[in-house]
């Protein structure tokens, strides 16, 4: 499977983490694509990485080594986690795309961090300019900010419709849209978003009678988990994952100081588990539980993800104290063991139903 399809005449830059401002890529006249693991099972990455290493990162490496991102001109990594830092090293040694950049995303979010992140974004801009051989104009950066803001606003609107008990569309359908948005040309996908009717075809299909589930975690690039939950009789109404609400929330201020505005928006958006501050994460999750009238929470951890392994027990303790049913699901990124997971999900949904009855 060649996951990266370039538009005619447009270079493609891949990225791996939601802290990468796509606006700068777009302003350079390049296509911005969030790359996903493209292989169903690993063949080559095991030669470089240990068995107990993030399977998402291993899948990206394996996909790169096997030429699955054939049309991709470059990639922007972030220091998201230990595994991702190592992916950059291995990528540069063994995959070697023409362009590669490590974006340093601060873990703090005070003014000093915003300043430093602004300088990192300016460095990214300079590197991209060197790569394309031309300057990125202020106008094109402003235009790309406008384009991304419009898409974000539409996505948030769509995701927030799930708050209502009468207008619920399938969670797997929504996740598919989120994933598509991150990998599609922006204008094309924004047009598609505009055309989604206020009332989705799935409305009143009985989903609003079902237990409402929030999925929390990091990267979920496949629909298996959501589909299994739906098959078990639950409705995934919200997801706080790399592709979910926290990715889309918050607009970039338009106008002067574009780079600083980008830094501010990306650094201050709702945090993912990489950022310090369990309290902030718990507030974010409990707010979602309230806003979306959640009946149960699934915490999805990609195997060997330290952030998830540390955060899940803290979130669990808090949610249990609020009597919110909670379950941790570990997965191998491609959900190769979805059958086994499915049994646990069915039991969880039955338990919630019992509570609701």
């Amino acid at each position: 499977m060649n996951q990266v399809q370039s538009q005619a005449g447009t270079g493609v830059i891949g990225w791996t983490c939601g802290y990468v401002p796509e606006e700068i890529i777009l302003a350079a006249g390049l296509q911005s694509v969030r790359i996903r693991g493209a292989v169903p099972s690993l063949k080559e990455a095991d030669a470089y990485l240990f068995p107990n290493f993030c399977p998402y990162v291993k899948n990206l490496l394996d996909s790169g080594l096997r030429g699955e991102y054939g049309n991709m001109d470059g990639i922007i990594f972030t220091n998201s986690c230990d595994a991702m830092r190592r992916l950059k090293d291995l990528w540069d040694s063994h995959v070697k795309t023409p362009f590669s950049f490590m974006l340093e995303v601060p873990k703090n979010w005070d003014e000093g961090a915003v300043t430093y992140f602004s300088e990192q974004l300016a460095a990214l801009q300079r590197q991209l300019e060197d790569f394309i051989g031309t300057k990125i104009s202020g106008d094109s950066l402003e235009e790309s900010i406008r384009i991304m803001n419009e898409q974000r606003a539409l996505m948030v609107q769509l995701l927030e419709r799930q708050k209502a008990k009468t207008a619920v569309i399938g969670g797997s359908e929504l996740l598919a849209l989120c994933l598509e948005a991150m990998s599609s040309p922006k204008e094309v996908f924004t047009k598609k978003l505009r055309e989604i009717p206020d009332q989705s075809p799935s409305v009143n299909s009985g989903l609003n009678e079902q237990p409402r589930v929030l999925v929390v975690g990091s990267v979920i690039d496949r629909l298996d988990l959501f589909e299994k939950l739906e098959a078990a009789g639950a409705s995934v109404v919200a997801f706080d994952t790399c592709a979910g609400l926290r990715h889309w929330s918050g607009l970039v201020q338009e106008g002067k100081n574009a780079i600083e505005n980008l830094a501010r928006r990306y650094l201050l958006k709702p945090p993912c588990p990489r950022m310090p501050g369990f309290a902030r994460r718990i507030d974010q999750i409990t707010q979602l539980v309230r806003d979306y009238s959640i009946d149960g929470v699934i915490y999805s951890i990609v195997k060997f993800c330290d952030y998830g392994l540390f955060e899940a027990p803290v979130v669990e303790a808090e949610l249990r104290s609020q009597r919110v049913p909670f379950m941790v699901i570990e997965n191998d990124y491609v959900f190769g063991d979805i059958g086994r997971i499915g049994v646990r999900l069915e039991a969880f949904v039955e338990m919630i139903k019992g509570d609701l009855d």
Partner: protein, 407 residues
Amino acid sequence: MKAYLESIVAFTEKKLEQKPSGWHRLINELASTFSDAFDENAKVVWVSSYAFPVELLWAFDVAPFDFEIACNIIPPAISGNGSSIMVTAENQGYARDICSFYRLALGAHFQEMVPKGDLFLTSSYYCNGKAKTNELIARAQWKESILFDVPNEISRSSIEYVSSQLRGIASRLETVTGNRLDVDRLRESIRWSNTARASFEQVNELMKARPSPWDGTKACFLGIAGSLFWGSQLRHELNVMLIHEMESRIQAGKAFPESHRILWFPWVPVQQTNIFTTLKEHQASVVTAESARVYWPEIDESNPFEGLALKALNDPHVGSSQRRVKAIVGLAKDYEVDGAIHFSTPACRHENGSFSLIRDALRDEGLPVLNLEADMTDERNYSADKTMTNLLSFFEILKNSSARGCH
């Protein structure tokens, strides 16, 4: 834990009365410093000293508590019974896929073995688990956890970002201790750090002798745990003791005979293993260790915050793996090693992720590399038989490689 630490202090004092030893002094001072953190009047700062420029702490009257080292020098951990503590964390939901160092610290926290902290300092470099553990325990003690965020690149902006955080931390230390930062005292701390840096380079230089006069795995431990004392006079004194010991061993021809010279990286097990006895039996001498390397330039005492920022930014575990590759290959050449052993603890993802690049670079130099999979402190992940087999096979490779005159 306090009782454990006091027992270590008593034991090492006895040893030191019998014979001066840099090693026993190190353990004694670590245990004694951590024990001070239980004093109810102490202003306790939790820190991972190998990943923080602790020179700043020595400019204040605080009791530094390095939770990683403290939890790993107490008898349960070193006697192969660390899991009795870890299991408490595991029962609270902390999976065994988390590094054993952090399960041990969390278990000690849940068993109420650790001292109360007044300030929790952690850092973004080395691994993700360290910062999360520090923050979890701070949260449980209703205290603030400060993350010292060190980017993976050195530039004017990263130096400013890092030094400005250090200024902020100094300000928090002022609040905790109730005393203003005495800049002269900070400069004195930096002077001691620079003096100790120079004497530690002497230690490293002496270890180049054939046969090597000291055990590189101990130097590795000193490089990590002894980080606590950068900025204190003590660190220099420890180095001087070791220098005298090594010099006298060299002069008396008492260095242990060596058939194989080994480079060791990156960590050492703290639990009891058969690794070191097996190495000794086969005259495999660990002559240098990555963690014992002096990686930072002298700190500029006239510009202390920037100097300390540069120390942090130059850490080999900050930045790309290539920085480590270059340094490790350099060590291999400088110490004329015959091979390298990578001690791989299971959940050390940032480090294990670099392994293949380091291995390939060493192999390009014609050096055999053993990936010794074990666990620093969880005895449930350790197999003496498997380790023995791996080591024996490696010695065979070294013999063959030496017979072929590979290097």
